[in-house]
Subunit: 422 residues, 4 copies
């Protein structure tokens, strides 16, 4: 299997072990990922960001293959039980490919807006462990214990500690692929994820008195690559994932879901979504039937709803008529802002109170990961934060995005009402 | 309006004249292009190729803006009536942005598989000229004659000849954007479209005894850029647009449409498609309601059809279980191949005869365009083919893709039956 | 004038005003920059980094042209006396092109190792103001006051404050070009200098009660681009300009110069360098005769010197046999390290004491520039450090590079002697 | 050994076998390549093209490493005697690294302008086989037969046929690196050399009745990559290697050498060059002492010559005051052109007749290589020209560059005299 990928160039899975990837790619649950946009609503902010989870799944498996190649060259540094044999390599490739299987329509957006919705990681497990899915059968055909092993690894559990971290850790293969891919597709090129150099500067070491190998970074060669990884992540959050258009669209979608709950069953709501809104549990099959198309079809139908609030919100998403947002100072009191916003909305009579939202996102710029150490040229192990002035500086700061989000009709009133918070 | 585009970098429409672009972008018919994949089925071959017509529309308008900037610097070379005033600039930007308005689900695929379907260019006109569409109203608000003027220009008609050619000609802004974009997104980087250099080497000239300015290329500076444009196009056809997976998927979709015609109305067929299959004409509104989602929803429903042929074909497209293809020699006799293929299908009893298809595409590698001339350093005008040994060489060749496409179940039988044609 | 540049793509200087660039390019003092490596000794660390000051000079003029285009669109924001007329545009382009005229062999290296050497900025002035140079004559032919005006602007003096800052300030055109170019050529791609976005987010404003326009950045659009610029600079320092091989080579060159001073006149020393070593002043013509070739020829000759120290140091540079370096903790006491290093050298008898050097470089990660402000979406002016958590975090840190540099023969002794400082 | 290269990204030579590369890199004859510009005079046309043979040597060794990795995966397709063992791998890496050892000042330029000069390939042999050179000693230290084996392989001789071709054949590692590097450095990006895909589509096969393995290309996967390689080469010739400024500068250098021969010994001529001009043979040591600096120093000295012709030619090269060139029709009769040029020169009295030169370069656009075959999906072996319409078309054409090159003083006279040939 030889594939051209815009991000990684040529991707190949050729060996016996690697053949697990093409076999899983043929499963319908993996093909379904073609119908789920990786960036959810962010394509409303970046027209290029329309790629699916499918391309990301392949990319993650490719990064895992490169990780396995790299740790094979480090085998001598670790005890035999921490080396990757063929079975573990196969599990690792499968885990990388399948880690996102449980995403619903518009990826993270969906679970964020449906109240009480199980998280996609849980659905991933259900799909893997359900004997009726094609991925389950493909894995079980290799070995009946495979589905459970892959599932455990996806959730960061493995007897090989460093492998668990490569699937679910600070620098996992998932992040490596999505940061590169989302940056490539949106055209947002801040921060550099230098995958070649990260892999080349990776080390494995066994702390004294322990038996499991840990991931580490060569401090002479790899420090800049590691810092840049964190900066790349920071910038993708700021520029893309938390872009004001994304937050605005999510506020609208959340309001729409709330309206649906208020109204009770509406024409156009797909049965599976109806069940979700009632708080019922879906079968794996019902869940898998849902993809971006499901949501888009519902939105299309709601545009014709008799309820003008529902119809209006649906039309906003369908035709990209987003709410406006107003940047607030980090220290502005959210409660006061919210009550002023409520007052403006009430006075203007443009719809339910929940159309005006105070959106506050607060994030550490960098949080040190005790499990990821740096090995200096003299062999000492140190925390990243102790050797990197850049990360140390960043670790003391928080990024706060504070915005009021509201329908455009009341823009001037909101600007006036919140003038002292800007 | 400032936008980040992965292909062109920063895109800005800022002047009064350019403001037509953001105004049109807000129209729902333009927003609809977000729901239509530019490459249709090609994302089945290139996981990166999932971008929509929307990003391409903006990119085309951007290339047009650059074209207008360039010809403004050439104004002295042409008579006043061939210079671009503000009105024509606005029409040109609108035409570039809106040229693809009429595409249906999966872009070209849709019109290729529905028998008797009007081509997308016709739908573009209908949408532009229909007083109920938002794009019509946005244009008419500027000037009531605008919709018709934009429509004419999209169809290559304008009193300014070179502008007509820039919208619809050998090197039009549409091609410039899609070759760059499709290459970027699929990762297929053969051929180079050097837009900067193409624009810099563009000339306008008025042939003796005529009054209209023609496009030309500076032979000293631009020949390589022009040759590379044609090579880029050639390679995108070979590697992407005519990729075997694309052809295979199209054969399946075509067979599915044929099956639908045989079966008569089926549950799941959207009403608009039903009308199309009956050969009826859609209203603009009905047509605009269709997008990729419409087709995907129908495929989902057909997967549960009682007709096993229909269900099978739909499942193939939904889960990417494509037909196989076998490369044939260019000179193999298509009729003989087809009859052998029919015989194999009949013997194997895997479905209707139209599941086995001989697919023959023949293309000139390069066809000279008499209207595009080269101006040598001594001021002579020459045909491209006379000054470029590369294009002259290519003009004598044809590319033939000849394949048998058929269900995988009969692969070995087909290989045996067609052994002498490979 | 149309030129292909690997960093900026197509570079064009076409208007009457811009024609100053091709005219100056023909001057021998500008052509001389082809013989001066921009990165000095850094090509010993990065084989790709062999580009000259000449390409950088053209690139700087190109960035200036883009700056002038940008500020032309902002003309309405500033009083008439701060707009750029043709004369100032010409001066600005000339200043950008000529700002590095005074560099000697190996760029910064040369002035760093010759004791008492006037800095290259001073030589730039001398060359510009010397009526015998071709650049002087080319500028004076336009207007006799031009050489002096260009010289003043290069030194950051102009009645147009923002222009002075664009030539010599936090983000000047020089830095924009060299960060991009050095990164491209060495392959070190950490940090992103997003020139398009920086220019697009540039603003001019006149503080209340003042009359001169200042540069500012649009806080909504430009903050990430500005932060990334500073990160790009940080990473180029760490990865390239202060690379251990560069420092090691500079230590060797400095030792060689010291040896020359000890020995008195040596065969092979070019007369101009001889004068410099004696502390005499060169004429402009003598200075201009020196370029990389001068130094390389001297090194070649010194390789055959009877003085084994001189010959050894020259051979080290010529054949890249660098001194070793040992990373020291930032807090290690430099004096103690130096005395231990001296002791090792003395014991090993490998040469004069100055062959062992403690190299300590300390730099602010980010220092706020009061003159560069951010304009928020509500029109407030703020300091970068107040709106950017990233820069605020970085401003609290310093980067310290602390190394012992010494001949490889004594490596194990040095490692032992300095074990407690590593 | 881990290195950052702008073209290939990260370059690593880590295994025991690969350690031959860092050992050879330390040799002074390899370090000398830092002082020889790869593109010779082409940096006069492309300011970016200033890179040295040194970076290219490392890049070639890197491509060889990738070739060896690839053929290792194909080992089963070939008889044991055609597999690459450790010794052959070491020889191959050394050959790739050292193949350009014998280049003189300005690479190809030097041997092109000195009459009777042995070609650089011969000097490479002399340097390798001379027991006094460091490369000889480094190789002999591994095994006394190594220098001769490496020399044989560099000249395309090896008992492993496919390896010989990888060092010196249609697609050798030298070409792969220089096409990529020269394109990257000059910014001329026409044609695509898709190294990943070329390597992935490489096959080895043993023709029936023979015992040696041949290189082949997978026709399904690799045809476009192969065609693009040839197009990349074509474009680099046209845009860079045969650029009019390069040809003009070479004409000047050739005239300068001729003048030197006419004048007899001149101050400033380095002794080695003096011997070469007298037709004497240099020792290896004398030859190795020459590099770009040698030529530049001579030019500097000649600028002060009493012979005005010599001084003028040297100043032209030093200060880039090139001769003009006039494009002629391919079919123009060179002899007639030359005699008219001579007449103009004689009438204008600007110098010896050899200052006016008719420069005619004729090249096949593509010449088929019988030894490089394509393997179709059905296993048939075919010639490239039979399966590629693009290459077939190109193979019928020739590229002719026909120019008159002459001092600028006589430009208008030459244009008049040659008007009918343009």
């Amino acid at each position: 299997m030889l594939l051209r990928d815009p991000v990684h160039g040529l991707i190949a899975f050729k060996s016996e072990v690697e053949s697990v990837v093409p076999r899983l790619l043929d499963c319908r649950e993996v093909q379904r990922l073609r119908r789920i946009r990786a960036l959810g609503l962010a394509s409303l902010a970046y027209p290029g960001g329309e790629h699916s989870r499918f391309a990301h799944a392949i990319g993650s498996a490719h990064v895992m293959r490169r990780y396995l190649d790299r740790v094979a060259t480090l085998a001598e540094d670790v005890p035999p039980h921490d080396r990757i044999d063929d079975e573990h390599a196969m599990i690792a490739l499968a885990a990388a490919l399948l880690h996102d299987l449980g995403h619903g329509p518009y990826s993270h957006t969906f679970e964020a807006v449906i109240p009480g919705m199980p998280r996609h990681e849980l659905w991933t497990s259900r799909i893997l462990l359900d004997p009726d899915t094609e991925v389950h059968r493909a894995l079980a055909a290799i070995d009946p214990t495979m589905p459970a092993k892959v599932d455990r690894l996806i959730h960061g559990e493995s007897e090989i500690r460093h492998l668990a971290r490569a699937v679910s850790g600070t620098f996992d293969v998932d992040r490596c692929d999505y940061l590169l891919r989302d940056s490539y597709m949106t055209g947002v090129r801040y921060g550099t994820l230098d995958l070649d150099w990260l892999l080349a500067s990776l080390r494995l070491y066994v702390p004294e008195g322990q038996s499991a190998a840990y991931l580490a970074v060569d401090g002479e060669k790899g420090l800049t690559a590691v810092e840049s990884f964190f900066l790349a992540r920071l910038y993708m959050y700021r520029q893309v994932y938390l872009h004001k258009a994304v937050r605005s669209a999510e506020v609208i979608l959340r309001a729409l879901v709330r309206r649906l709950c208020e109204l009770g069953p509406q024409p156009g709501t797909p049965p599976a979504m109806e069940k979700l809104l009632r708080g019922e549990t879906l079968t794996t099959g019902e869940y898998l039937d849902m993809d971006d198309r499901t949501l888009e079809t519902a939105l299309y139908d709601y545009c014709g709803s008799k309820d003008s609030v529902l119809a209006g919100l649906a039309a906003r998403l369908r035709h990209r008529r987003l709410f406006k947002s107003l940047r607030l100072r980090p220290e502005a009191d959210s409660k006061t802002v919210q009550s002023r916003l409520d007052a403006v909305l009430a006075a203007a009579d443009v719809g339910p109170a929940y159309l005006g939202v105070v959106d506050r996102v607060e994030q550490d710029v960098y949080r040190d990961d005790a499990a990821l150490v740096v090995i200096s040229s003299s062999g000492r192990r140190e925390q990243l934060i102790d050797v990197s002035p850049v990360l140390r500086g960043l670790s003391r700061e928080r990024i706060v995005q504070h915005r009021a989000i509201f329908p455009p009709e009341i823009r001037s009133e909101v600007r006036a009402a919140l003038a002292d918070f800007r």
